[in-house]
Amino acid sequence: MADLQDDIPATVEIGADDGLPDDLFGDRRPAGELLERAHALLAEHPVADGYSGLPWALRHLPWYDLELGEAAIDTDVPRLREGHVGALFWSLHLSGETGGERAVTAALEQLDLVRTVVESHPEGLRLVGTAGQVIDARNCGRVAVVPGPAPGAALDDSLGILRVLHALGLRVLTLAGTAWAGESGLTRFGEEVVREMNRLGVLADVSGASPATAARTIALSKTPVLCSRSAARARRPHPANLPDDLLAALGEAKGLCMVPLTAEQTGPAVPDVADHLDHIRDVAGPECVGLSGTYDSGVVHPRDLADTSRYPHLIAELLRRGWSETELSLLTWRNVQRVLRSADFTARATQQRRASHARITELDAAP
């Protein structure tokens, strides 16, 4: 895209007076033109959306057709195409309506629903488990669906269940909310869980985890870790948002902070979201920031980002702020690709390690 060369500002010495206004990166071209460029960019580097609540939302619908379009939800194939979404992480929601439903059964049911939904929309969706399969899906014009994140409760504190859920497609696990990833960090069993996840190729998601757990996981994991739904604490004091020291640590480890498009965590408007993205890019680095639409999750979205078709509006705002094509391609697509590929590579590299039969009752027994 040669025309983009025009937008890269000339390099100047830091501090030197270049005689330009402070808003150096501001693009004053009409909004329509920026939107057009956003579409063109996204056509090249689509969005890998880190969090969708669709499987749980569909559970409540008696009938739906994602191929034709579905007004009752935020996600369907036409809007995914309009928004240039190329890959989608489908979160597994476990809390039963009756309260009696057990987490493991709920996880199996959600994975079954994911499989059923994807199989019944073969023209639009494709279930994938590796970075290579994401590319295949994209080459075939399908939206890649990655199962996960699932809450750690789905494991019922068992590495055997982790392996079985991986076999059923699960690729991201949220550590928060378990007995082995609490306020004081990972327990010995928790560390064994992370090692086993590395061995299998299941990404660790530390959104919502305590700072101690997040820091230990980042240090321990042989593959980058994710924050599936975290924005910048410095921009908005939400408990799931990351403070700058954790963002820096995540950046150091080449992890990925995926910013949720929710009014609660990022603020009510597109520029608020962009502020978070600017901040995380500056603190963690452009290789460590991603997007989580968080659609169909029962949350309020910023204005103009109401459903999965709206990503170009966000990208247009970032273009206006001077994000380069490289930065934007990392943000929307390439960072997620790198993390998935790294997980695959780590799993292959640790295949000589045998499956762990450690049990929480042995490793975390009271002293």
Partner: protein
């Protein structure tokens, strides 16, 4: 035919048509004895004294395919979670012993393993409690490789009566029939061992695919509720299924059935539950056993069942399901998984032909799995995943 000649011929037969065994509880034994530490209880070597099953004895016994049971106790706090751990155990065994165990999901996989000289490894879940009234969970088990579900274990489930519990549903409920239909659609075999005769009949009515009895013998030969009544055996030719004879002495030998009843009564007379294994209870039980020696089943006992089942169901509807590592006692001559040649030798001396024995050991079981796949392929052209719930079909919980 001399006994030695018969045994030689049995071994030769098994080399061509090895045993497809319907039920083996090795995974549960590994859970209970070793906490799934596969190094601690390595089945690559001789593990007699700990287990009925290891690779050398499976080879000696002429086993060519094994349905590994992913059984869990009804008492488990979360039976689905425990079932997944059992499945993981089987998957780890397959990873660990690739030269001996071949993962198998289809009849074609069975044949491929037989050609390669590996033991085809399938999985069967034992009891509807393993799906927690959830068809999504049933499909999850299928996706993980489980190829049969025994509808109940020793206790009723909400949708089916067990042979060894108080009648409640009177067979299958509406949801129970939906479970059977969904299993048909998936290509998962309906296993009717452990279920009440009423459930057997309802399942035969509901199923459009052949059923199996993964480990059950003939009730006419030995009157125990775990065995199959003749009217059910008679329906197998029309259904196409197989009854896989089991060896458990307290199911196959009338004297052992009676002895078990007396032993249980003795426990109750001492104010103990009959399954109590506390030191006090074991003392009471040992004293009883000293006064009343335990009757011993033999190869001939099992052959009697097969002779009868063959007469009633026909040679095309028989198989073998030893229940090794799922039972404390075994018949003389069938002490562990190396014993199958003794059973075949006994049948040869009773006049069974080589062709008969090939059906018993391999061909019938392989045919049934293939037939279930064919039915599934048909059904999937017209039917999608069932979204039924037990509440919708059987009413709110508790009203049954």
């Amino acid at each position: 035919m001399s006994a030695v000649a018969a045994l030689d011929e049995a071994r030769a037969l098994l080399r061509e048509f090895p045993v497809v065994d319907g039920h083996n509880d090795l995974p549960w034994a590994l859970r209970k004895q070793a906490g799934y530490d596969l190094d601690a209880l390595d089945i690559a070597g001789d593990r007699s004294g700990h287990l009925h099953t290891d690779l050398p004895r499976l080879r000696a016994g002429g086993v060519g395919a094994q349905y590994w049971s992913v059984y869990v106790s009804c008492e488990e706090p979360d039976p689905v979670a425990a079932t997944l751990e059992q499945i993981d155990c089987v998957r780890r065994l397959l990873d660990r012993y690739p030269a001996d165990l071949a993962p198998a999901l289809t009849a074609a996989d069975l044949e491929a393993a037989r050609r390669e000289g590996r033991i085809a490894s399938l999985m069967g879940a034992e009891g509807g409690h393993s799906i927690a009234n959830s068809l999504g969970t049933l499909r999850g088990l299928y996706a993980l490789g489980v190829r049969y579900l025994t509808l109940t274990h020793n206790d009723n489930v909400d949708w089916a009566d067990s042979a060894t519990d108080e009648p409640k549903a009177g067979g299958l409920t509406a949801f129970g029939r939906e479970v059977v239909r969904e299993m048909n659609r998936l290509g998962m075999l309906v296993d009717l061992s452990h279920v009440a005769a009423t459930t057997m009949r309802d399942a035969l009515d509901a199923s459009s695919a052949p059923v199996i009895f993964s480990h059950s013998s003939a009730r006419a030969v030995c009157d125990h509720p775990r065995n199959i009544p003749d009217d059910v055996l008679e329906r197998l030719p029309a259904n196409g299924g197989v009854a896989m004879v089991t060896f458990v002495p307290k199911f196959v030998l009338q004297a052992a059935v009676d002895w078990t009843v007396a032993a249980d009564e003795n426990m109750r007379a001492h104010g103990l539950h009959h399954l109590d294994t506390s030191p006090e209870a074991m003392r009471v039980h040992r004293a009883f056993e000293e006064r009343n020696p335990r009757p011993v089943a033999t190869v001939s006992t099992v052959a009697d069942h097969l002779d009868h089942m063959r007469e009633v169901a026909g040679i095309d509807h028989l198989g073998i399901g030893g229940d090794y590592d799922g039972t404390a006692f075994t018949p003389d001559g069938l002490d562990d998984v190396s014993g199958y040649p003794n059973l075949l030798a006994e049948l040869l001396t009773r006049g069974w032909s080589k062709a008969d024995l090939a059906k018993l050991t391999w061909q019938n079981a392989a045919r049934v799995l293939g037939a279930a796949e064919d039915v599934a392929r048909d059904l999937q052209t017209t039917r999608a995943s069932s979204l039924a719930t037990i509440e919708a079909l059987d009413g709110p919980a508790g009203t049954g």
